[in-house]
């Protein structure tokens, strides 16, 4: 395959590409879902093909196909260059870089593919079964997913790389119902490790806990509205890191001056307790990558350090535009989709508070628990996060469970009110789109943080 890709690169160069790369990717996935004790999905997926990029000026031509014969690849190479010539974008040339070579395996002690499917199915069935703890449980769901993606990349710098990215994920989701009311709860375990990750957990206990929390939610009350003291849990803290500060720190948004964080390097943007990073090298992180999809090694980028804004994430192009190296954040959903500056594992670092210390200072407030979703707002710097649920805090004590809560406000206003940052960081896996498509695996996280945030819910 490397020879075919190198030939494609040569054709693109000979046809006028100023920079070009050729990627072959093959992804294999296994998904198992059991719902209400019935198998609902047992599927294997294979996606394989070639994506070719050619850059002329600041415009890209892109061609992709599942066909991997030499003739098709050569025709695609010419097509990519023709397409690049149809663009009209000015751009800074991507500076020459040393060629990178090598072959790198996924970091899994027990590769998921080495474990019999029957064992995985038994695990999923057990997780589903464990959720049926009461007549109030209406619907149980257990989902297992594993993936292994192999990328072979060559480019006009002479790089020739082959590497693997492997992921694993297990989810329990319970729906409880009583007296005409329905509520749900979920737990998940995920990472770029092998089966050793799941073996650390008592999965029956995970199932029971999920179901118990779904039943607790049947008694939840409407959350308070307006500006409140809010202790965000690691998932919601992570959403603030990812959706607002993270997306707005993606180099393409900065080059376009679309981000509210443009020209903010060196300025105080948060309370001094706040440090935030994007770290593609995080051991086992769901968003961790060996190389980005342009063949740049992943790295740790400090975005906020002790409250001071430090910098941006880059791919080859935005790095060239801003005169800095790529941070290894050029990512694409697959070989058939566009490359963007994307996050990996984005999180706030630990402070020195315990959750108990944070709660005992609060007369009236809320404590969130898990996210449903959030939305980026790089232009306005707005934060919108939907928490799956929360708890009321009254006179220093956690009291009633709350239904879903939407949190909103300006991110910088929120971060300046953060007066307590927790000791323990945890991460949650997700899938991040840019706009409404181009999904890549990421994680976000942080510690419990106490801030003033506008809340609302029904």
């Amino acid at each position: 395959m490397e020879d075919e890709l190198r030939k494609a690169v040569r054709i693109m160069q000979d046809s006028g590409a100023e920079f070009c790369d050729a990627r072959y990717q093959e992804s294999r996935t296994l998904s198992i879902m059991v719902s209400n004790h019935e198998l609902r999905n047992m599927s294997n997926g294979r996606l394989a093909g070639i994506g070719l990029r050619a850059r002329i000026g600041g415009s890209w031509g892109f061609a992709a196909s599942a066909s991997i014969d030499r003739k098709s690849i050569e025709e695609m190479a010419r097509k990519a260059v023709r397409a690049a010539k149809a663009g009209d974008c000015p751009g800074t040339p991507i500076p020459e870089q040393p060629a990178r070579t090598g072959s790198f395996r996924a970091k899994a002690r027990i590769p998921p593919a080495s474990v019999p499917t029957e064992e995985k199915l038994a695990m999923v069935k057990d997780l589903d079964e464990a959720q049926k703890i009461s007549d109030k449980i209406a619907n149980t769901n257990a989902i297992y997913a594993e993936s292994l993606r192999t990328t072979v990349l060559t480019n006009s710098f002479g790089s020739s790389l082959r590497w693997e990215d492997g992921r694993i994920r297990l989810i329990a989701n319970t729906v409880a119902a009583d007296a005409g009311r329905m509520e749900a709860y979920r737990e998940s375990i995920a990472g770029t490790r092998g089966m050793e990750l799941l073996q650390k957990y008592d999965l029956a206990e995970v199932g029971v806990r999920t179901a118990k929390e779904a039943i607790v939610q049947l008694g939840a009350v409407k959350p308070p509205s307006g500006m409140v003291t809010c202790i965000t849990d690691p998932e919601i803290t992570g959403l603030l890191a990812h959706e607002v500060m993270g997306h707005a720190s993606e180099g393409d948004e900065i080059v376009k001056r679309r981000s509210f964080l443009t020209d903010q390097v060196g300025k105080v943007v948060a309370n001094e307790q706040i440090t935030m990073v994007d770290d593609g090298t995080l051991e086992g992180g769901y968003g961790s990558i060996t190389f980005d999809d342009e063949g740049t090694p992943s790295s740790r980028t400090v975005i906020i350090e002790d409250g001071v804004y430090r910098g941006y994430m880059h791919d080859l192009e935005t790095g060239a535009e801003m005169g800095v190296p790529s941070t290894g954040n050029g990512r694409a959903q697959d070989f058939g989709r566009r490359m963007w500056v994307r996050m990996t594992n984005t999180f706030f670092e630990a402070g020195d508070w315990t959750l108990e210390e944070m709660v005992e200072d609060v007369k009236f407030g809320i404590l969130t628990d898990k996210f449903i979703n959030g939305m980026e707002d790089p232009v306005g710097g707005g934060f919108e996060a939907k928490a799956h649920r929360g708890f009321l805090i009254e006179n220093g004590k956690v009291t009633k469970p709350l239904r879903a809560i939407t949190l909103t406000g300006k991110a910088l206003d929120i971060l300046k009110t953060t007066d307590a940052v927790g000791k323990k960081v945890s991460h949650d896996a997700g899938s991040c789109g840019k706009g409404t498509e181009d999904y890549v695996p990421v994680s976000s996280g942080g510690p419990y943080c106490r801030s003033k945030i506008i809340a609302g819910g029904d």
Partner: protein
């Protein structure tokens, strides 16, 4: 070898591997896209795609494998994988047969011949028109995409079923930005089977207007308890999370649809009529067959506010002992790429909410007080309860029949299932949004909560 022949070879392989039934969903598509970055043409792309999803039944043991197919070996390997997984699957309680052949009752999928023969240069010119219409108003277009795809999907199975849907798809998505100390953002989306539905100048003008209005929008002080009218683009997403979820037999069979026990009962205001209409040529997924090869039909799902039926794919029809309604879907509305990867889902083909008589402007003129939401940050609804609290990125405040000004960052709080029972008026500005065609709707019972 073409993908149809590969699908046949996959079925033969599955049977050799012990399948009692086998099904292949074969996709062949060509996608052309043009991306804008900062008012300029950034990426031009052409992508070809072919692949298979193979489902195998061994008795009642069901499994699936999918694969991109560059050769017949890929197709045969895909079938062997599905057959091997089926050996490991526990038996379904009810499902033992893929659909049988049946004659189509509706017209074939809408297919735009202009897209089949499209030159990517034509897309480039359309995008430039959109960008020009926005920049003429002093607004930047930081990013956008216009995509046109032609797709051929074929379903065949060992019951001698073989059907083909030929379709086309247009998707556009743009962000606009009005620069300034507090920039405003406009967002425009379109999906349709027809390229003629993409009016480049109107798209550019609309995102520019939104961006300029969003720049001037103020934070809401206090709250407003008055009718809230929601634009089709946002309402379509909200109903997809709520009504479409509740109508799916998958949700009903799993006992998590809030409408599970409400057949024949009122679930909405009498003004609400919802039809799943795969014959509507505006529908992005309209077709004569679903993605299991079952003929699609026009179904009144909510009639005068009364729930009439749920939507069934073949699996959920076996669980509920009902005939399948042609709602086993794999195809998507935004992108034709790698559709063979999509799991089969029990969902609408094309939900159509019957429009009212008056335009949004006339409805606004008759409001004493109200809020018109044009853009939410992310319009999701809790599917089990219907609850939502959504941040507005652009909304209009109405007083005494006129738009008084724009607000942003307010929360609209309410419950969509309750909202459907409290419809004030349905407008006549229907448009296609994902797998729905719907107009703006004004609701009672929602509240706008200010950020100050």
């Amino acid at each position: 070898m073409d993908i149809i022949e590969m699908a046949r070879r996959a079925l033969e392989t599955a049977v050799r591997e012990g399948a009692t039934q086998a099904e292949a969903f074969a996709v062949d598509s060509v996608t052309r896209s043009v991306y804008v970055d900062d008012d300029r043409i950034k990426i031009v792309e052409e992508k070809e795609d072919q692949g298979l999803a193979v489902r195998v039944l061994k008795g009642r043991k069901l499994a699936q494998a999918s694969s991109a197919c560059a050769s017949v070996e890929d197709a045969e390997a895909c079938a062997r994988t599905a057959a091997s997984l089926a050996d490991r699957s526990p038996s379904s309680r009810t499902y033992d047969r893929f659909p049988s052949p049946a004659k189509a009752v509706l017209a074939a999928a809408p297919r735009d011949k202009r897209i089949e023969h499209l030159d990517v240069g034509e897309l480039v010119e359309l995008v430039k028109s959109t960008v020009g219409a926005a920049t003429d108003r002093g607004v930047k277009v930081p990013r956008g995409v216009l995509r046109a795809a032609s797709t051929t999907t074929t379903v065949m199975n060992t019951n001698d079923l073989e059907v083909t849907n030929l379709g086309t798809l247009v998707f556009a998505g743009y962000d606009a930005m009005a620069p300034g100390a507090s920039p405003g953002e406009g967002v425009g989306n379109l999906n349709s089977p027809w390229l003629k539905d993409y009016d480049p100048v109107r798209m550019g003008g609309d995102i520019a207007r939104q961006a300029l209005q969003a720049r001037e929008a103020k934070a809401l002080e206090g709250s407003i308890k008055a009718p809230v009218m929601i634009a089709p683009g946002e309402l379509g997403e909200m109903l997809s999370y709520s009504a479409a979820f509740a109508l799916s037999a998958e949700s009903v069979n799993k006992k998590r649809s809030p409408w599970a026990a409400k057949l024949g009962e009122s679930v909405a205001s009498a003004a609400i009529d919802i039809v799943d209409d795969p014959s509507d040529p505006r529908g992005a997924l309209s077709a004569a067959y679903d993605d299991e090869g079952v003929p699609t039909t026009v179904k009144k799902v909510v009639e005068n506010g009364v729930l009439r039926t749920f939507l069934y794919d073949s699996y959920n029809s076996s669980v509920a002992a009902m005939p399948p309604s042609g709602n086993g879907m794999r195809r998507g509305t935004h992108d034709a790429l790698f559709m063979f990867q999509n799991s089969l889902a029990c969902r609408p083909v094309n939900l159509v909410l019957k429009p009212g008589r008056r335009g949004p402007e006339e409805i606004i003129a008759s409001m004493d007080e109200g809020v018109v939401v044009e853009k939410f940050a992310f319009p999701t609804v809790n599917p089990y309860t219907g609850a939502f609290a959504l941040e507005t990125r652009l909304a209009h405040v109405v007083r005494r029949g006129s738009i008084e000004g724009q607000i942003k960052h307010a929360l609209i709080v309410g419950n969509m299932y309750e909202g459907l029972k409290n419809v004030v008026e349905i407008a006549n500005d229907s448009r296609t949004v994902g797998d729905m065609i719907l107009p703006s709707v004004a609701f009672n019972g929602f509240e706008a909560v200010g950020s100050k």
